[in-house]
């Protein structure tokens, strides 16, 4: 889903200026902006800590398995594609297909979550934990807080499916708002993946 798509959709329903510029509930973008600032501060704190103890961070980072991070990223990016398709189908009036894409999104999100838990368990069994090093402290914190956002994302998907299930509800605005939340959580993951797994 893009801002341009939102523009076309809202122009069609005669939304005001603000609604034309933002897909879904314009107020939701307050969340996106403030939460992005909060995550940016987490990232800055991580990068600062990394510059202070570069060798220790590099050594601790080697405990992570790159392909797990790549697989998790693929799962979440595919889930973003699925929810964008869900919004497109909703706009086209294909509500049954939209529901299917919503379930695909939830399934991919659940697969990501299961893989993340398996990764945590594997690391803990290998002797790494929240307190084992500064890097692991950041790793478990960033991936944990992201997982908390993902759990709320499942609630948003539940709202989305609930809206799609009944012809009397089906608010495009609510569906786009839930989708915006999901994309935001995915965006945070892309940065977390780049910082924790890729940058060595």
């Amino acid at each position: 889903m893009t801002a341009v798509d939102g523009l076309a959709d809202d122009a069609a329903v005669g939304g005001d200026d603000a609604a034309r510029r933002f897909p879904g509930d314009p107020d939701m973008w307050i969340f996106v902006v403030v939460e992005s600032l909060v995550f940016t501060s987490y990232f800055c704190i991580y990068l600062y800590a990394r510059t202070q103890h570069e060798q220790a961070f590099l050594a601790a980072q080697s405990a992570l398995t790159m392909w797990v991070g790549i697989l998790e990223t693929i799962l979440l990016l595919t889930s973003s594609w699925a929810i964008a398709r869900c919004v497109q189908c909703t706009r086209a009036g294909s509500y049954a297909a939209a529901r299917q894409f919503a379930f695909v999104t939830a399934g991919l999100g659940a697969a990501f979550f299961a893989l993340k838990i398996a990764e945590w368990v594997h690391l803990i069994r290998d002797g790494y934990s929240f307190g084992s090093s500064d890097f692991m402290q950041h790793f478990f914190f960033l991936t944990g807080i992201h997982a908390a956002h993902l759990v709320i994302g499942f609630v948003a998907l539940g709202v989305l499916v609930y809206e799609l299930s009944d012809p009397r509800r089906r608010s495009h605005k609510t569906i786009e708002t839930c989708s915006t939340y999901w994309h935001t959580v995915d965006l945070f993951w892309v940065v977390i993946f780049a910082m924790l797994y890729v940058v060595r």
């Binding site: 314009p26 107020d27 969340f31 403030v34 909060v38 704190i45 402290q137 709320i152």
Partner: protein, 260 residues
Amino acid sequence: MTQERGKLRGAKRELWLAWYVTVAFYGLYSVVFFALARAQPPGRPWLDPGQTVAWFADRHWGLLIGFGLIFVLGGFSAVALALITYSIRRMSVSPAYAYSYLILYAIAAIPGFMFICVAMTCGVMRPDLSPVTTQWLYDLGFLSFVGTMGVFLVGSLIWMVAILIDENGVLPRWFGYLSLVNALTEVVIAPSWIFQRGVLAYNGAIGFWVNVPVFGLYTVAFILLLRDFIRRDDLGTGPLPMPPPDVWGHAKRAVEAVGA
């Protein structure tokens, strides 16, 4: 008609009184904790017993006077809580939201607000205690104050859901989403129970410093929005006569003013 207007004015006066008490309470809270008692920002979690005794001695009168004021006037937090509860009752949602919020915050205020006052006052008034016990009181105070923010989490979520499903336009929807941000920053404080040093300790960059601006923004926002709500409230039961403030309209006008 005139009688009705008089009644409305009277009832509004009570709401305004509650709002000014709310402002006074948060003002007192900030002055006591940050300036008078200097209990915020939190001390270092890794002080040894001797350093903890020195910490208390350095703040002796500030802690006594500051927390004395809190013991006398801290009860006004109930008025602030009542005003928020009233705003939720004014929404088109089940009263269960308002009562859940009221009960949760009333209970949460004990570990999240009163424990630190009791522990710090005890530490400063009983210099005969062993340094190890004083250190225990110091840790209890800060851990209860910072580390129990999670108990406010469910309250924030209840308020968020009430705002988002409300059809009476009591508070703007963006504040509902801001409540979610606030709730999520309350989650990150939990690790302060584990770490004595680093970014997640109770004085850490993430454990404390990132959360302060979010909580400050959230508090200022709800105080101003409650003022706006009281202005618009007709003390009825349906939608409020005027809609909530249009944040996008304000933003657009600000951008246009800068452009001009």
